[in-house]
Symmetry: C2
């Protein structure tokens, strides 16, 4: 095995271990030392790969949410379908086995460390979404943050609090119902008529 | 002082103490005994007034969110203004001093006891909102749950994760931007065109 692929496997093992631990305990309760011990690596290696515990947390979210893949969709789908496609894509992330662990992680960060989520959501998701929207910078950032308000609420109402009947709909039904509202935030008129 | 007003003051003191403790610790970590001790009442009195710890939690949320007051607005405002008014009303709740304590409480429940939130949101908010919407029962419940997806996401993105520029807007601006989307869920066409 080459050093590179061995390194990639070690990095992957650290990510997997961290995802499990962050979903079981809060960000503060999980030490780099415990992640290193569970992943059978030297703690210094975690700093080498991820810079810090914050960096590792962001990398775990990044790995599961695959924002680059999300962005590629935005490059392919017709503009007037983005709202629906964003909802479909997000739904497929949260219901996957990795998505459930990530949801637990996000819930814990939500209670204890929302600033970790802010950094990740802004850098990995909003700025990428904004880059595909037309218009002045301020307006593109505003539109992306409005999209975040609907997408995060969909996760909360459907997958965490499980409000009915929303929680029992198929993801296609949710995309039909919520998609048009996301679409207005992305490309519709924002000023009141 | 009459027995009734003394009872009302005791009940109020229990609610206030519980709100503080639930915002500092998780639902499980707060015991009825500790609430009773901090409120200087007999633990049996809490059960007398609220039935259980779950009942007390719901009563604290109910007191701060004032769903009855919210419902009264829905009875007064023109139907086509409800979306905007709901956003304005919710914003005024969350930024109040009591709202901040409640937000901490909700965040902790979100991480540990989402089913407590589900019961409260469904009974106190959704069923009341649904009762004002026209149409068959199933559709009214669906519309109310979609409203919940936007309103909860607004709280998350604006007041917890604090995504910019959404977090820095005035509540009037937020009502102008988000109101039309809430309005579609309440009274607009739900099927894709």
């Amino acid at each position: 095995m080459s050093e590179t692929s061995k390194g990639a496997r070690t990095r992957q093992r650290i990510l997997h271990t961290a995802a499990t631990l962050f979903s079981e305990k809060s960000f503060e309760q999980v030490s780099l030392r415990s992640i290193a011990r569970n992943a059978h690596v030297d703690p210094a290696l975690i700093n080498h790969y991820f810079g810090s515990k914050e960096g590792l947390f962001a990398a775990v979210l990044d790995e599961h949410l695959q924002p680059v893949q999300l962005e590629q969709r935005l490059g392919v789908d017709p503009v007037d379908r983005w709202g629906r496609e964003l909802v479909l894509k997000a739904e497929s992330v949260w219901v996957s086995p990795a998505g459930r662990a990530m949801l637990a992680m996000v819930r814990r960060a939500f209670a204890g460390n929302p600033e970790l989520l802010r950094t990740f959501v802004t850098k990995a998701l909003l700025e990428r979404i904004a880059s595909h929207i037309d218009g002045p910078d301020d307006e593109r950032r505003l539109r992306a943050s409005l999209v975040a308000s609907q997408m995060s609420g969909l996760i909360v109402a459907r997958h965490v609090v499980r409000v009915e009947p929303l929680a029992s709909l198929t993801r296609e039904q949710v995309a039909d119902l919520v998609g048009p509202n996301v679409q207005r935030y992305l490309t519709g008129p924002l000023t009141p008529s």
